[in-house]
Amino acid sequence: MTAIAEPVLSDRTTALAERLRTAVGTERVLTDRAQVRTYECDGLANFKVTPAIVVLAESRQHVVDTVRLCSEAGVPFVARGSGTGLSGGALPSADGVLLVLSRLRKLSPVDADNRQVTVEPGVINLWVTRDAAPHDLAYAPDPSSQLVCSIGGNVAENAGGAHCLKYGFTVNHVLGAEVVLPDGEVVHLGGRAPEHPGYDLLGAFIGSEGTLGVATELTLRLIRVPEAVQTMLVGYSSVEDAAGTVSDIIAAGILPAAVEMMDALAIEAAEAAVSCGYPEGAVAVLVIELDGPQVEVEAQFRQVEEIARARNAFEIRIAADDAERALMWKGRKSAFAAVGRISPSYFVQDGVIPRTKLPEVLAEIERMADERGLRVANVFHAGDGNLHPLVLFDDAVEGQAHEAEELAGAILELCITSGGSITGEHGVGQEKRMKMGKQFTPEDLDTMQLLRCAFDPDGVANPGKVFPTPRLCGERPGVRKGEHPVQAAGLGEVF
C-alpha cells in the first residue's frame, strides 16, 4: 500500500528551477535528490512522493515569487508547514514545487487590549500561547501536535484539539489572513476587526487544505486565561457507562472545556509508553476538564462527579495541581504514538459521529474488528463525537495491512451512515478524497469546485487533494465563452 512516485525532472521543471533560483536565491531552491527526498511525505507516511523542486521561503516576497512563477509555468505547488498533517495534505506533486513555509516564523508583539496577535505561517502553535501567557491570554486551538505543528498548517486544516468542544476550531480564532492567491496576487481577508464588508472569504479559506492559496500572515484571536481549571480522570468498567456520563453532562447543561475518552486498548498502550497511572482494570476512562470562574467550576465539577458516580464510575481522581493535570493529559496526548508499543503498525483514523450514537458505533466498530481478527484502540474527543480509532496491524503478516486499511475505511463509512463526517480535524487531503463522494453528492462537490475555480482557475494549488476527481474550471465566466480546449480534446470535464 506504500506508494512511491519518482520525481519528474522535466524540461519544464528544470527551467522553472532556474527562474526560482534567480527570484528567491540559489540557496533556497533545492533539486538535489537526497535533499528533496526529506519532504516526500507529511505525517501520513504511507504516501510518499518526491517533489521535483523544494523552495524554502523566508519572506512573503519569496512566496509571491514562487507562486507566480509556478502559475506562469503551469506547474503545481504544494504548501507545507511543519509537515505534521495526518491526511497527506502536504504530499508533494512529483512534477511540482513543494513550498516550505516553516522559516516564516515571526510573531508580532501581542496586542493585549484587542486580544490579538499577528504571526507568520511557520510559527509553531504553542509559541502563540507562550507569547500570550504574560498577558493572561492564550490561543485556544490546541491540536495534540501543538509542540511542533505550525499555524499555517492549522489554518489549512482548520485544526481542532481537545478544547474545541467549548472554544471552537481554528476558524473561530482567526480574524484575518494575508493570502497569496494561486496566481501570485496578494489579498487581505478579514483583519483586526470583525464583519468586514463582503463575502466571508476568510471563513471559506480556512480549512481549504492549501487548495485556495497560501497564507503569509495571520491575525489570531486570543482568549482570556480562565480563572480556574479543574480536571478529573474517571475509570469505568464499561464503555456504555463512560459514554452515558458524557451524555448526562451535556443534558445537565454543562459545557466542559474538554471531555476525552480512551478505551482499554488505548489505556494499555498509554500505560506502556508514558506510565500515566490510569486506573487499573479500567475498560474506559474519561478525562474531563472544566474551566471558567472559580465558583462556577467548583459547583459544576461537583455535579459532574455525581453524574459519573451515578454512571458507576469505579474511580474518580481529581488533579490537585498542574503537575497532576499534566500527567492526566500526558496519557491522552501521547496515545497515538503509544500504540506503537503494543502493535508493530497502525492506522490513525479520524471520523465524527453524533455524540448520542457513541455506544452503538463503538459496539459496531468492535464487531467489525472482531470479524476481521483485528484490534482497534479508541481514543477520542467524546464531547463532540470526534473518533480516532487506531487500527492495529502487523506488516509482517501477509495481507494484514490491506485488511486494516479496509477496516479503517469501513469505519469511516459507518461514521457517514451514522450522520457524521469522514473527518473532524485531520482533513481530507490525499487520504480521504475518494470518500468525499460518499459524504457529498456530485452536485455538492461541483458547487465546492465553483469556489476553487474562483480562487485557482488553473488548478495549480495543491491539485489532486480533497476532491475525488481532478476537474478543470473552464474559462472565467463572463469573460469568454466557448469550449475549453481540454474538454474539446476529451481530456477532462469542465465546469
Binding site: 484587542n114 464588508p197 463582503g198 471563513g203 480562565p226 443534558a251 447543561g253 463526517s421 452536485e443 455538492d444
Partner: protein, 395 residues
C-alpha cells in the same frame, strides 16, 4: 400539496424591495419547489430576489431588477432537533423566535439574538445578523454547521453536516453568510445549540459620556469575568450607560456581578434586562450604521461620530450600531469612514430614509479582495441574476 405554480401572483407595492416592485411573487413550500422555480427563472433569464421575514431588506441596497420575488416563509419546518447532540436542522423560512421557542422547551437555545421582529433563519444567515450575546456565542459563522442552498441554475447543494466538528470539504455556509442572496438561495440550515443558562444577573452603570465605555470594556475583557454581553447604550442627548449581562448558574452570576461592580467602580445590580437592551438605536428618521473595528478602539470610533448620534455598542466585540441624524449623514459618513480606517474600521448603512439613501455609499471601501469576490460571484451566478446589485462593488 399545492403546486408551486399555483402560488404565483403579480407583485405589488407591498412586495417592493428597496422600492423595486417585483413582476411576480412566488411562495414555494419545499426545497424541490425552490429548485423548480429557480431553474425556470434561469431558463428565461429572470432575476430572482429571495426574502424571508422582510425584517432586514434595507440592509443591502435595492436590487437592480427583480423579476421574481422568492418568498421563503413557506419553508417553515423544523426538520430535526436532536437535544442530546445539541443540534437542530431547520428550513430557511422558520422564524428565529419560533425556533428558540421550540428548542427552548428542551432547555436549549440558538446563540443568536438579533432584535429584528419576524426574522427568519435564512434572513439571519444572509444578512449575518447578530445581537449582544455574540460576545458569548459568536455569530452565524460560529454556529452554522450545515447549509443547503439552491444555486442560480436550480442546483441543490449541501455543505457541512449535522455534526459540530467537521472539516470535510469547503465550508460553503461561511460563504453564504452575509451574502444577501447574491450567490444563491439559502433553503435549509443546521445549527449548533447551547444549553439555556439557569440564572441571570445584570449590572448597569451610568456613564458621563460614551468615551468612558472604552477603557471599561477593555478592563472587562481582560478580566476573568465571563459576561454574555457588554452593551453600551447611548441616547442622542449624550446620556450613556453600560449594561453587563451575566448568565450562568446562580452562584456564578451573583459572584461575577459583585466582581463587576468592583471592577467598574460602581453600578446597580438587577435581575432584569433594561427594555432597550439589544435594540438597534434611533428611529426611521435616522441613518442606521453598523460599525466594525478593532475592539479596543471603541472610544476612538464613537468619538468620530457626529453629535446627536444614538449608539448601541456590543462593547467588547468591536461592533456598534449608530443612528446618525439623516440631515448630517451624507456629509458625516465619508468623514467617519476616514476617521475609523486606522482602527481597521468599516461602516455599513443598514437603513436610511428614502430621501438620503441614494446619496450614501452603502457598503464603503471593501479592500483588495473585491476582485476575488467578483470572481466568486461570477462562478456562482455567471448571468448575474441573483439579487443583482445588492452586494459590495455592485455585485
Amino acid at each position: 400539496m399545492t403546486a408551486v405554480t399555483d402560488t404565483r401572483r403579480a407583485g405589488g407595492p407591498d412586495d417592493a424591495v428597496g422600492g423595486v416592485v417585483p413582476r411576480e411573487v412566488v411562495r414555494p413550500t419545499t426545497v424541490d419547489q425552490v429548485a423548480e422555480v429557480v431553474r425556470a427563472a434561469a431558463a428565461d433569464g429572470r432575476s430572482v430576489v429571495p426574502v424571508g421575514g422582510r425584517s432586514k431588506l434595507t440592509w443591502a441596497p435595492p436590487p437592480e431588477s427583480c423579476d421574481l420575488l422568492l418568498d421563503l416563509t413557506g419553508l417553515d419546518r423544523v426538520v430535526e432537533h436532536v437535544a442530546g447532540d445539541l443540534t437542530v436542522v431547520a428550513e430557511a423560512g422558520v422564524r428565529l423566535a419560533d425556533l428558540q421557542a421550540q428548542v427552548g422547551r428542551a432547555g436549549q437555545l440558538l446563540g443568536l439574538d438579533p432584535p429584528e421582529d419576524g426574522a427568519t433563519l435564512g434572513g439571519v444567515v444572509s444578512a449575518n445578523a447578530s445581537g449582544p450575546r455574540r460576545l458569548r456565542y459568536g455569530t452565524t459563522r460560529d454556529l452554522l454547521i450545515g447549509i443547503t442552498v439552491v444555486l442560480a441554475d436550480g442546483t441543490v447543494a449541501h455543505a457541512g453536516g449535522k455534526v459540530v466538528k467537521n472539516v470535510a470539504g469547503y465550508d460553503l455556509g461561511k460563504l453564504f453568510t452575509g451574502a444577501h442572496g447574491t450567490l444563491g438561495v439559502v433553503v435549509s440550515t443546521t445549527w449548533r445549540l447551547h444549553p439555556v443558562p439557569p440564572a441571570r444577573r445584570v449590572v448597569t452603570l451610568q456613564l458621563p459620556d460614551t468615551a468612558a465605555a472604552g477603557p471599561l470594556s477593555v478592563a472587562l475583557a481582560r478580566s476573568t469575568l465571563t459576561p454574555s454581553a457588554v452593551e453600551l447604550i447611548a441616547a442622542a442627548d449624550g446620556t450613556a450607560r453600560l449594561v453587563v449581562l451575566f448568565e450562568s448558574i446562580a452562584e456564578s452570576v451573583a459572584g461575577q456581578a459583585r466582581a463587576a461592580v468592583a471592577l467598574l467602580g460602581g453600578g446597580e445590580e438587577s435581575e432584569d434586562l433594561p427594555e432597550d437592551f439589544g435594540r438597534r438605536p434611533g428611529g426611521a428618521d435616522d441613518v442606521l450604521l453598523r460599525l466594525a473595528y478593532a475592539p479596543a478602539s471603541l472610544s476612538a470610533v464613537l468619538g468620530a461620530l457626529p453629535a446627536g448620534t444614538a449608539v448601541a455598542a456590543h462593547a467588547a466585540t468591536g461592533v456598534s450600531y449608530a443612528a446618525v441624524p439623516a440631515a448630517e449623514a451624507a456629509e458625516a459618513l465619508p468623514r467617519l469612514r476616514a476617521a475609523i480606517a486606522p482602527h481597521d474600521g468599516t461602516a455599513v448603512v443598514l437603513r436610511a430614509p428614502d430621501a438620503v439613501r441614494e446619496r450614501l455609499d452603502h457598503w464603503g471601501p471593501v479592500g483588495d479582495s473585491l476582485d476575488l469576490m467578483r470572481r466568486v460571484k461570477e462562478r456562482f451566478d455567471p448571468e448575474r441574476r441573483m439579487s443583482p446589485g445588492r452586494f459590495v462593488g455592485g455585485l
